[in-house]
């Protein structure tokens, strides 16, 4: 990527079309038509007020703020917290898989790949029967005498949502982070150990810093996918308040055919991901530059 941007600069004031432009054209045109245009159009429509024949204004945002500010805050909080949670758990598992290479960890690592291939809608269905007040989990706990079925654990809320996200996202994050840990040579770990570093220090001072880029990549991908998830919050939280903005967007569209407020909520979710996406892209470009420099 670095090479592309430097070559695009015109040399010595010349205005010549770079020769690779025709080659790039189909891909770029496709991207612009299929992603760029809908994105811009959604941005534009969020300002277009249906009640005033599509005149531009902030009415949709005002309504989104009036009705859904709790949900926006909830989505943001749920996303940050669950990303953090998934990150920590995934790092712990990856460290375990990296440092303890035996049959048990091999089986676990293989099992851990399964949830990646299970679609969110299936996970959601599973969670609704697993986490229900009289669902599998509560009944199992009741059998052990830990829970009273008259007053079971209520998990169709933030807690249940987090459990669902963790179930689905931790394995995905482990896949990326564990891959990064595999690249770290044993000699670093042994060197740290022989200088007297404990396990915690090895993890915090050697493994994690050396694997920062893949951890960041995993976090960014998990974060963006949580912001955009619809089925899990829809089926776990449903019509409760607060809920996530994806549920609100579906409600605005399906019930009111109100694309204005739906797009305003959409823009909120773009804002939530754009900083992490920018950070991710920047770090990728920096890496690519470093690769090229080597």
């Amino acid at each position: 990527m670095g090479a592309v941007s430097s070559a695009a600069l015109p040399r010595r004031g010349e205005l010549r079309l770079p020769p690779y432009l025709p080659l790039l054209f189909p891909a770029v045109a496709f991207m612009l038509a299929m992603y760029g245009w809908p994105f811009l159009s959604s941005f534009y429509q969020s300002f277009s007020v249906a009640a005033r024949e599509g005149a531009l204004g902030l009415d949709n945002y005002a309504k989104a703020w009036e009705l859904y500010r709790k949900d926006i805050a909830f989505t943001f909080a749920a996303t940050i917290l669950n990303t953090f949670l998934a990150g920590v758990v995934a790092v712990l598992f990856s460290v375990y898989f990296r440092l303890r290479q035996n049959r048990v960890s091999a089986i676990l690592a293989a099992l851990f790949k399964l949830p990646i291939f299970i679609p969110f809608v299936v996970v959601s269905q599973m969670m609704t029967s697993f986490l229900a007040p009289h669902g599998l989990l509560n009944i199992a706990l009741a059998q052990l005498g830990l829970v009273d079925l008259e007053r079971p654990l209520q998990l169709f809320n933030f807690a249940g949502l987090s459990f669902g996200f963790a179930w689905k996202q931790v394995p995905f994050a482990v896949l990326i982070i564990h891959g990064g840990f595999q690249m770290i040579d044993n000699s670093y770990i042994e060197a740290a150990r022989s200088s007297g570093a404990g396990m915690l220090k090895v993890i915090l001072r050697v493994l994690v810093p050396m694997n920062k880029s893949s951890i960041v990549a995993a976090l960014v991908l998990v974060y963006s996918s949580i912001v955009g998830t619809f089925t899990l919050p829809y089926m776990i939280i449903g019509g409760k308040t607060p809920t996530t903005i994806t549920v609100d967007i579906a409600h605005r569209v399906n019930y009111f055919r109100d694309f204005g407020v739906a797009n305003a909520l959409g823009v909120c979710s773009y804002v939530m991901v754009i900083f992490t996406a920018a950070y991710y892209l920047k770090s990728r470009i920096r890496e690519a530059r470093q690769e090229a420099a080597r």
Binding site: L67, F156, G238, G239, A250, N254, Y255
Partner: protein, 385 residues
């Protein structure tokens, strides 16, 4: 011998093709049936209506086209017909459409349909008020209902010995039994929307104005604030479930003892063994809304007689009894008394046992005019959450 010119060969081929095609087309006419609704509507068209109708009319095949669930699916049919009108097409691609109530408001405004019901042989079986008005719009003669789906409160008689008969009694019951009533709010499916609509009817006593006569009056909306504030309090003692299915599942697992459900889903779940067979239904005063799905014929349909023939088949007592009531557990689009002879007494007793035909007439209400319907949903988000 002279070689035949290319033009002549072409003419000959065209003639041959025509000669072959003519008897074929005379043999087989195709009817395009476009339906909104969930995938069960596609199954109904493809696997039930189409083969059934072709068995009776071997020269006609039925092609089912499915748009999508809910009002959004009906909107797609509306957009299709409206686009044909804008393009000044003389003949529509669609012969018969099956649509939701809201479609009638849009289509009647744009004059996209033709009247047919009075000419249909089966119209004598239709007695429902839903065949006359849809969300306050006069639709008489333009529609015939395929089925009627109704919401009602389902309850478990094991725990609820003396179920509340009105919304007022329900409030007291919920206060006495916190956490035992569940519904899905307004974002998780229409059984919750229906419950909330009934709440507004009960609190205002203005069913006639909101759902029958109209007109839409913005000042009414402001008057709902206390009713929705009360609903907010009510919501503190109830469980908000994950959807239409969520309510049924919670009932089945015994997590809640009472909740609003779609009657057809209720019976389907029961037939499939997914719901405790003891569970019963009731319609509280002043009633809860239900809705019909309608057959309509586009104004520019190619062959209105053929379209009508199809509708007559599907609204015949035989098909209504066998497919609509027994297979899909809906209330029939035609008057229940006409199908009584065609279904087993046990089935009739089951579907009309808890909620009697008299209950349906009195308390099977309609959803309000479209503007009120939207206003109720928004008022809920503003005041009850």
């Amino acid at each position: 011998m002279r070689k035949p010119s290319l033009g002549k060969v072409f003419l000959l081929c065209a003639f041959l093709a025509l000669a072959l095609a003519l008897p074929l087309s005379a043999q087989k006419a195709r009817l395009v049936f476009m339906t909104a609704g969930d995938v069960n509507m596609l199954a109904l068209g493809q696997n039930v209506f189409s083969p059934g109708f072709t068995a009776k009319n071997p020269k006609i095949s039925v092609m089912t086209i499915h748009t999508g669930p809910g009002d959004a699916g009906s909107q797609q049919i509306f957009e299709k017909l409206n686009a044909e009108k804008d393009a000044k097409r003389k003949v529509s691609d669609v012969d018969v459409a099956l649509v939701h109530e809201i479609f009638m408001k849009w289509a009647m405004e744009k004059d996209l349909l033709q009247p047919y019901a009075k000419k249909a042989a089966t119209s004598k079986y239709v007695t429902s008020p839903f065949a006359k008005r849809a969300l306050g719009v006069n639709v008489e003669d333009y529609v015939m209902p395929l089925f009627h789906s109704q919401t009602a409160l389902a309850y478990n008689p094991e725990f609820v010995k003396n179920p509340p008969k009105t919304y007022e009694e329900l409030k007291a019951w919920v206060k006495a039994n916190p956490g035992k009533f569940g519904y899905n709010g307004i974002k998780g499916g229409a059984s919750g929307v229906s419950f909330v609509t009934g709440w507004v009817y009960a609190a205002t006593g203005k069913y006639q104005k909101y759902a029958v006569t109209g007109p839409f009056d913005k000042a009414e909306v402001a008057s709902w604030e206390p009713a929705f504030k009360e609903l907010k309090e009510f919501n503190k003692s109830v469980v908000i479930t994950g959807g239409n299915v969520g309510t049924l599942d919670a009932l089945n697992r015994g997590e809640i003892w009472m909740g609003p459900v779609w009657v057809d889903m209720f019976f389907t779940f029961m037939n499939e063994g997914k719901l405790d067979p003891k569970t019963k239904l009731l319609l509280p005063e002043p009633g809860m809304p239900g809705q019909a799905m309608y057959f309509v014929i586009p104004k520019t349909a190619a062959n209105p007689e053929l379209s009508r023939k199809f509708i007559e088949y599907v609204t015949s007592p035989e098909v209504q009894a066998r497919d609509i009531v027994q297979k899909f557990n809906w209330y029939p689009g035609i008057d229940g008394s006409f199908i009584k002879a065609s279904i087993p007494q046990a089935t009739f007793d089951k579907i009309y046992g808890d909620v009697t035909p008299a209950d349906l007439v009195k308390k099977g209400l309609s959803f309000p005019l479209a503007d009120y319907k939207l206003a109720i949903a928004e008022a809920y988000e503003k005041w009850a959450q």
